[in-house]
Subunit: 303 residues, 4 copies
């Protein structure tokens, strides 16, 4: 089926990789390596890509670099892949500019993280106005992005209950711990909720989530898709077994090392990972050797 | 004495206003009103200005707007006023670009807030490298800016003990609660420490701080300078009495309302305050009326 | 099957009520009402009772009162019900005394919350020694109790991986958010993990948990057992639907009002709830009326 | 002057030691060593003692042990020393019992820490009722005890503004960071506020505090009294210099190691310190050797 005729729900059902942004040792942006990573992921069962998210170190990119990154991904992304672009900024004004721009570049969805610099002032009333003002004018549908670890605040269930009524806010990526089902209860089963971490991907599906945006999908897309596919096929026990494998992988990589770990694992798996941009540090040589061993023993890398 | 011959300590001794950035109701930047505010502050006893800080809503400004704001302040600032420019960004790379640019525009100091998006990864080792890389190349001396409320993390005393040895890192603005003397103890009395809140300005001076960057100096510069001048003149009791007045003022304005409160009070005091940029809300009419009354009763506004 | 021959796993599989402790308006302990509540619960499908837990306000009871409460429950508890006693205290010493005493009174399990007064000192090493010293001498098997909301700290997965090897530590009640599957992964599927909140009871079962200790089981035991029974019977969809009903109930009662809400709902459901002991406040009359209405509309109370 | 005729303010002006409770290696209470420590402190310039506080590990004592500890201190305390007894418990009821008992044993003041098990329910309204109910019936005047590190919650300034009006609540020990002057502003200068940490003892005096309850006074009473005496004598510069020495001492002992550190330092200074009661660990032999060296180098111990 061509994407044009798919419902939002169909477009969002499955696994997305929050694309890591390649840099060289000096911190220069490497667009060719980005393109090459995407081409490789195009062959996987991934539903699509989230560009300019947390794992993309979007806060460490100049605005002009963000544009290039999004352009690059959109230009090489396979036809059947759905592309979400992170366009949340600290001001409503700048978020609107970025959302319109992403839409003009033909991103399928924009993804809005909450402004967090003035986190204590981000009451439900403030967030409601902020997201509505953007959604009102965004040419493409909006997904919210709830990530207390980086954005400090956690969306309240009443905020989600209210904002999910907006016709142009069609779902949310939830990276908070232990709130997934509460958001679904508040928003209703039509709201497209995606797990933002592999650590509860299966539970999210069980409770009614449509998919996941999983950092480890950057280097292990098939392991992620397997959970989804088994679940869809009604193979409950096998899906759960795979979920526990995924959790192990996620703990060793993203849980322990964050973006730097994801990039190291990408290198192992023959993607271009490279170092994160400073201030973040890459893994030390010892950490890399140990991680490689662990992933090999766990069966995620060929010996 | 001409500024050229002043030591860093002399340049930093006194009260600084963290300049608020004027917007109209639609969120457009108002540079004329900014210039006019600065001209009025030029006549006060303020030691100088911090441009593009928290109260300047710098995270809500486009990079091009930041440049214009700094240019405007530098162009109208009186000769005897010292100008610090906020140039901390989420990446080391962008912080270096911003610091060089501010220096080329003739800011006297750059002020570096910590990257905080990946706050959990901001170990002392990471922050040390980050700040050193910037300070190594910054053409003007660097001040650190410690503000856990907006930057999530609090600098450790051992980080400050270590980093204060860098020849181009000459001081810090500390907006954390209850750590001021510990930082001075760690860095040594030569380190130029400034209070980042009126709530402990006097205690900071008592313990060996050189001055303060006080949000309420945007509309009440004289009340702030009074504490400093009385302290300098050895009038301990009177300085403390004024400090308690300042605390009251600070609680009612910045403590309760943040930037939006500072801007409302600026309007009362015949500066241009205006609304903050969205997502922040301005005070409601009721809040403004009540605040105006309180400030009048407390003697900060003429009836 | 007689309880004597049941495995720990069998004894722990199902729903437990963390028994609320009845007081009169002056805060006096009401043992008769406690006995009467238990007799009524004896007729439900509950697997058993947790006495002297958070919902039992055990921290607000004198040690002598704790003894009486446990005695009372044990004396009227039906033969087929399993009784866990909360015996975690701030010192290892006192926890041992309490655990031995509970065992001598014939409690089936003791439940150990972490000491939390010196929460910052409660490293894994400290907690390991603490729990092992108690488990080494406890005549009955030990369950850990992980509840960051009241005990401040959250058990690390590596602590649980390690401590679950102790032969006398047979399981854990987990009341933290979003960690359940990680604990199971760390401890292995043999470890008896119980959900400590109705908000994720079904997810806990799905991931391999054996049961739940659910505050709302104090007044709605059947609604809780229904989720468990449907799950056991392989009726996945229906179990999930009931889980969402349970979440709604839990949010309106425990989530919003804590123990005071549970007690108000007990009164509605013809148990003795009464007021919590001071410093806690009971619900106001308005809150009670509103809650009663909501529970009636939601179908949990007969009109 | 005999204590009987002293005002509360006079009784509270100076340095208090929050008495550590001696145990042997098995955790048994050592009352003789406690008596001997007090006799030695009787000869110092301390204003008095706080018994059954955080440093007394009161939460790790059985209620009967608490009684014995208080009895012991009261029986050997010198006539000119003022004794405060920690009587805050988790329930209002038990706090009243403990306060009456302490008064009947002739403690001069009772000190009330906030109930914290249900910290999220401890609104200002709840705390107001709790403290008032106790103060209404306490035969001796009440001091509040604000310690967020162990009691989780921080008193709001409006709570302190309100509760300080109660005729039997005469002061507060504040162990929170950076709030001291705000409490004084809220309560008025008549309220007797004591610093609960050596790290800001001097600042507290400067702002209008009457004294301090300082953990390091358990082994270094003279160094603590020196700051107070110099301040009283108007020797500002020397007092500040001593304060910085005190901070260094406090960081190395209490800051780094808590109660266990205080006890190790007591052993060095020829008091009986001994180990803390489990779950707390004593310092390792290496930590003790290093600490002893540091304290010797810093001039706090004779070589």
């Amino acid at each position: 089926m061509s994407q044009e005729k798919m419902s939002y729900r169909e477009k969002l059902s499955g696994v997305f990789a929050p694309i890591a942004t390649p840099f060289d040792e000096e911190g220069n942006l490497l667009l060719d390596q980005l393109a090459s990573n995407i081409r490789k992921l195009n062959e996987s069962g991934l539903r699509g890509y989230l560009v300019l998210g947390t794992n993309g170190e979007f806060k460490s990119l100049l605005e002009a670099e963000r544009r290039k990154v999004l352009e690059t991904v959109l230009s090489v992304s396979a036809k059947d892949k759905v592309v979400m672009a992170g366009t949340g900024r600290e001001s409503t004004y700048e978020s609107i500019i970025a959302s319109k721009e992403a839409a003009s570049m033909r991103a399928d969805f924009v993804s809005l993280i909450a402004p967090s610099f003035f986190a204590k002032k981000m009451t439900d009333q403030v967030l409601l106005r902020h997201f509505r003002l953007i959604a009102d004018v965004s040419p493409v549908p909006v997904l919210l992005y709830n990530n207390p670890e980086v954005a400090v605040l956690t969306f309240s269930t009443s905020l989600i209950g209210e904002i999910s009524k907006h016709p142009n806010i069609v779902g949310m990526k939830d990276t908070s711990k232990g709130n997934f089902a509460s958001y679904l209860l508040a928003a209703g089963p039509e709201f497209n909720l995606l797990a933002g971490s592999a650590s509860y991907f299966f539970e999210a599906l069980v409770m009614g989530g449509v998919g996941g945006v999983l950092s480890i999908a950057n280097f292990a897309p098939d392991a992620c898709c397997k959970v989804f596919d088994l679940w869809r096929a009604g193979k409950f026990e096998e899906a759960r077994t795979e979920q526990y494998r995924l959790m192990t992988l996620n703990q060793k990589v993203s849980g322990k090392f964050g973006v730097a770990g994801v990039k190291a694992a990408m290198d192992f798996a023959e993607f271009y990972g490279g170092p994160p941009r400073a201030p973040l540090f890459p893994l030390t040589m010892d950490e890399k050797i140990k991680l490689r061993e662990e992933l090999t023993v766990a069966g995620f890398l060929k010996e």
